[in-house]
Amino acid sequence: MRARPTSVHEVRWLRPVCLHLVMQRTTQGRCAAHGVTNDPAMWHSIRGALGARLTVAVSTPSWALPIMSDVKQRPETKREQRPFVDASMIFFIGLALVSAALVYWVKGAATLSHALSQSLVLLGNVIPLIALGMMLGGLAKELADPKKIAPILGAQSGWAGLFLATALGAITPGGPFAAFPIVYALFIAGADVGAVIAYVTAWSVIGIHRVIIWEWPLLGHEFVIVRVLTALPLPILAGALARLLARGPLEIDRPELRTGPHKDPT
């Protein structure tokens, strides 16, 4: 892969990919990127740096590199660990304490102990299932190979593109922090907006990973089979609808496409 600094214009639309970067102002008043971060607090400093003439090294999933061809490749660094105790954990603990106190206050100790034992039983039931589900999720991540299908999601992909985007979205693991950089990578690589929306919708509605880890253990396989089977065509329809809308009132300005599609120099 050819490595070269991006222009200011490219940096502007690469902005979200830069969420994964730690950027530092250098003595020349320019910005340079060092390493990778998962820390959302960096967003602000990155946003603050926008508009400056930047040299960026962008972190992308390895499979997305072929479609991120205009981006200077970053040397592989160790993925940073998310902190073990974070805001959402404090939120859960606080919510549990407050709601337990409310139950005790409003309904008394007997109801509280009933609620606690009910959640303990539920916990005991779902732990083995969730552990197996996570193992299956980890294995699915090993088996799925989006590298082969991502670059084909072109603007002229038609229905096949919508099908492909749906399949790709369904197998994309992880939460929004993992998925949206991929979504944006697809978008700026020239994937058509319908395909991108089919991808997002499939990731959120079908999301095999979440189905395996959460839905199947907690809600049972009959529920899952019925729900997933009937949800399969919906992302494709949403993508098709988005294509229609994007031709009309909701056209999205995409300056990166005016200069023609990005070619993979490799």
């Binding site: 073990f84 954990m89 916990l123 980890g138 919708t201 907690l218 809600l219 049972g220 529920f223 729900r227």
Partner: protein, 171 residues
């Protein structure tokens, strides 16, 4: 529960076989993923389950049945998808809430609308990720294009369950 455990176990064995054939180190990476994710959940899950069961005690059953019960039809489905969209956080919040609402009398199709509304509308995700990353025009386009998805999913799943004679009510 037991049948789900058996099916999941078989699926793990099959996936493990193929992953190992492709790359012998894959099993180790998948196990590491399980331990990493599991240790994060080990603290959140008990607290979110406690919060969900306490909140379910606080919301009167009759209110849930009258708003989201199996007989509420399209109104209940629409209400459930909007309510789902407002749920904050990841699956560790939404799934326990879905289960407890189901136990308190919400209908199967309404639970599907809730989960799908949570994943498709996801107002918290839109504000935190999608708007800043993709731009608000994209958000508007996606919201309009996929606005029918939770309702359609619930209606179709309800119809399929009825055709198959399956129950999607959660015990």
């Amino acid at each position: 529960m037991i049948s789900s455990l058996v099916i999941l176990g078989i699926a793990v064995l099959i996936a493990g076989y193929f992953a190992r054939r492709r790359d012998p180190a894959a099993i180790g990476r998948a196990a590491k993923f399980t331990v990493d994710e599991g240790s994060r959940l080990a603290i959140r899950l008990p607290f979110s389950l406690i919060a969900a069961s306490c909140l379910a005690e606080l919301i009167p059953d009759r209110m849930i049945v009258s708003m989201l019960g199996p007989d509420t039809g399209l109104t209940g489905i629409t209400l459930a998808s909007l309510f789902g969209g407002l749920l904050p956080g990841g699956p560790v919040v939404s799934f326990p809430i879905a289960i407890l609402l189901a136990r308190e009398g919400a209908g199967g199709a309404q639970v599907i609308a809730l989960i799908t509304g949570w994943s498709v509308y996801a107002f918290h995700r839109v504000i935190a990720y999608e708007g800043p990353i993709m731009g608000w025009r994209f958000v508007a386009l996606r919201m309009i294009a996929s606005s029918f998805v939770p309702i359609a999913s619930a209606v179709l799943a309800g119809a399929l369950a009825q055709a198959l004679g399956w129950s999607i009510a959660i015990k």
